[in-house]
């Protein structure tokens, strides 16, 4: 199946992309993150992401479907 991955803020610098389409076998969000960390090793140093699937945030490790859009936002503490 294909999923579209969108990167926000510093994740764009880390991956060199705003977004990409990825062909993967059935995975959950957690498994997708592991795939991305292998592809972009410096992502492994990042703090846990805030994740949205099809523009709705989730913190559950849900399975993804063909055509899903997964967005990654970095958590931010500053003020």
């Amino acid at each position: 199946m294909k999923v579209r991955i969108k990167y926000y803020a510093k994740y764009r610098e880390t991956t060199g992309k705003k977004e990409e389409e990825m062909e993967i076998s059935s995975v959950t969000i957690g498994e997708l993150i592991e795939v991305l960390k292998k592809k972009y090793p410096s992502l492994a140093n990042e703090r846990g992401s805030i994740i949205a699937v099809n523009n709705r945030f989730t913190k559950d490790d849900v399975p993804l479907s063909d055509g899903d859009v997964v967005s990654f936002f970095p958590p931010v503490s500053g003020g």
Partner: protein
């Protein structure tokens, strides 16, 4: 009505009725750093009735590049004392209450009870976790905001109506990363702070806010608004 507010009263989202609500409102600003000083200054200029400012820190040289209200001569002084003096000079009609403390689990209920709306201007996950929990217990609406580098987030949290921080997995424990390490620029601070103030005004005046997470990046000219549904299993606000 004070003529200083004529320009904002002419805006249909405010009008005289909105200005009356602004002038009778009480807002608590937790943190008087980058976002806190800009938020407090804007609220005071607009005529919020009472503004409570909370911070135990002192002014440092590295603050001056992005934090409003402080000048070189203020380095080493307590932030809330300097800020209170500056805010009173801007608008003597606003009651300013400085509290030189750090928000903790012990003092949160008494401090957060002082406001109709609470503004998050903190710089760590622990404080936001406390705000998230205690504002829900007190049923106080609050505005989350955070900034780093060239971007930041703003979100309205209305207990019992919108999602909270815990609903979408925002960290609620830990100190976070200092601004001198992760970096932040003044335009990002001001943009995020301005969005936070607009959000607070909507909560006060009666405008609608669905609690979407607003993301803004001032370097890439990007702004997005992403829905966050309430999580019925949320350990803070779920099923309550």
């Amino acid at each position: 009505m004070d003529e200083r507010y004529l320009s904002q009263i002419a805006v249909k989202e405010i009008f005289p009725d909105g200005q009356r609500k602004i002038e009778s409102a009480r807002i608590v600003v937790i943190g008087m750093g980058g976002t806190g000083t800009v938020i407090a200054e804007t609220l005071v200029r607009m005529g919020i009735g009472k503004v409570v400012i909370v911070d135990d820190d002192t002014v440092e040289l590295t603050n001056l590049a992005r934090q409003a209200l402080y000048e070189e001569k203020d380095v080493g002084k307590k932030k809330v004392d300097v800020a209170a003096g500056a805010l009173r000079s801007i608008n003597s009609g606003v009651e300013i209450i400085p509290i030189p403390e750090r928000l903790t689990s012990q003092n949160a209920r008494s401090i957060l009870s002082l406001g109709d709306v609470i503004m998050d201007a903190t710089d760590n996950y622990d404080a936001r976790g406390i705000m998230n929990r205690v504002c829900f217990e007190l049923r106080k609406p609050w505005v989350f905001c955070a900034v780093e580098g060239t971007f930041g987030y703003v979100k309205a949290i209305i207990p019992g109506e919108t999602s909270c921080l815990s609903c979408f997995g925002y960290p609620e424990f830990g100190s976070g990363v200092a601004c001198t390490v992760q970096g932040v620029i003044a335009p990002a601070v001001r943009a995020v702070s301005s969005l936070a103030v607009s959000t607070a005004l909507r909560l006060l005046i009666g405008g609608r806010d669905d609690g979407d997470l607003v993301y803004i990046d001032v370097w890439k000219n990007v702004m997005d608004s992403i829905p966050i549904p309430r999580n019925p299993e949320c350990r803070v606000c779920g099923r309550k």
